[in-house]
Symmetry: C2
Subunit: 229 residues, 2 copies
């Protein structure tokens, strides 16, 4: 019988990749670090996990403290554990990600963040640690995810046009979609209820409004979606 | 300017959910724990991460030490961090999972494992810690994954019948599939090369053999698969 060796302990952090949409583009929420290492540089909001909080609680606390953002659906992304990813010592980080509508949040830097701001995913500044790699993994996951889970329920107004929904998908996927093909596929999923209402106050011909069928939306979110683009 | 607080440190472990297939059923590789806590109980192979190894290195080392299993594709599953998941102290665990052909591996308990053995997923013994929940998450991930990534390349012989491929999917999904529908969908993906060869030494009418088109297989693995069942 061997003698149990002492349990090793490692610094554990959380980092949050919050993607923010509006009608035109996809951005990521970053903070300017107040402290060393990487003082004055941009990074993902995050910090060390306290011994008495769950990983998701830590992610929510750090995001709230550093950016003011609360009340969002955070999903665990991946755990990054390369031995040399932090210059201080070994730090393993559990990354979370979210997709929100930017207009719903008022962001402001505080605590360890001198500033907080949205940056276009295509034009990120140089990032601290391995945060550029974490953003890349999160973006790939987000794009893969919209193929097997519908999006839009929390991101569009209750009633919307098919053009608005297409623009949402185009923004997340960062690519143009064929209008006829998009409509055919989305309508075939019976995800939407067609309303006898049309958009108001537009110069062009008013487009029909749709609404998500919440039951069908929830079912597709759980069971798989298969949206091929 | 606040003074940086000391960095908290937490015990970090890895656990491996290795699913093993043969022609008939899906099993999970478990070890009987030699040490407390949960001494004498079954658990996932795993252990603490050393300060100088990556998370995947730790998972491979523990799996090899406790079961003799090496040379397999391990994918990160999820990180479980509830504060009370270990009776000793706070332990956060990064879970990995894999799907292998059981016949390719000779398992034997060693190190902290008194025994190592395969258990049918439908008939698991009571498991230590939150390992039953980890297995459930892994099984759900595996079933979701076969819908957007093809399986079989490392799990079937080079040449196989459509019946053998269907049986593989049925075993992983733990549900029967309609034969005609399965064939139609699989062939439509152009994932397979049809051979002018037939199975040998069978009592029934010999079935045609197929082979994976490796280029197409790799492409579908990366880009998404959309296998609806």
């Amino acid at each position: 019988m061997s003698i149990p060796s002492p349990i090793p302990h490692i610094a554990l952090s959380v980092d949050c990749v919050v993607f923010g949409l509006d009608d035109a583009d996809l951005k990521v929420l970053l903070v300017e670090r107040r402290l060393e290492p990487y003082g004055g540089e941009w990074a993902l909001p995050g910090g060390f996990v306290h011994i008495d909080e769950s990983l998701e609680q830590a992610a929510r606390r750090e995001l709230s403290e550093e950016t003011g953002v609360t009340k969002l659906y955070l999903e665990q992304l991946y755990t990054f554990g390369a031995c040399d990813r932090d210059p201080r010592e070994r730090v393993v980080t559990v990354a979370y990600y979210a997709l929100v509508r930017r207009g719903n949040y008022d962001v402001h830097g505080a605590s360890d963040a001198r500033r907080a701001a949205w940056f276009p995913v295509a034009k990120l500044p140089s990032l601290a640690f391995d945060h550029a790699a974490i953003v890349r993994v999160a973006l790939a996951r987000l794009k893969a995810k919209v193929r097997y889970q519908p999006i839009g329920f929390e991101l569009l107004p209750t009633k919307f046009t098919l053009t608005a929904l297409q623009r949402l998908y185009e923004t997340v996927l960062e690519m143009p979609l064929d209008k006829r093909n998009f409509r055919k596929r989305i309508l075939a999923m019976k995800l939407l209820d067609e309303l006898d209402e049309w958009e108001q106050n537009v110069a062009h011909r008013a487009a029909r409004l749709y609404r998500f069928n919440e039951r069908k939306y929830r079912r597709l979110t759980e069971s798989g979606f298969n949206f091929e683009v």
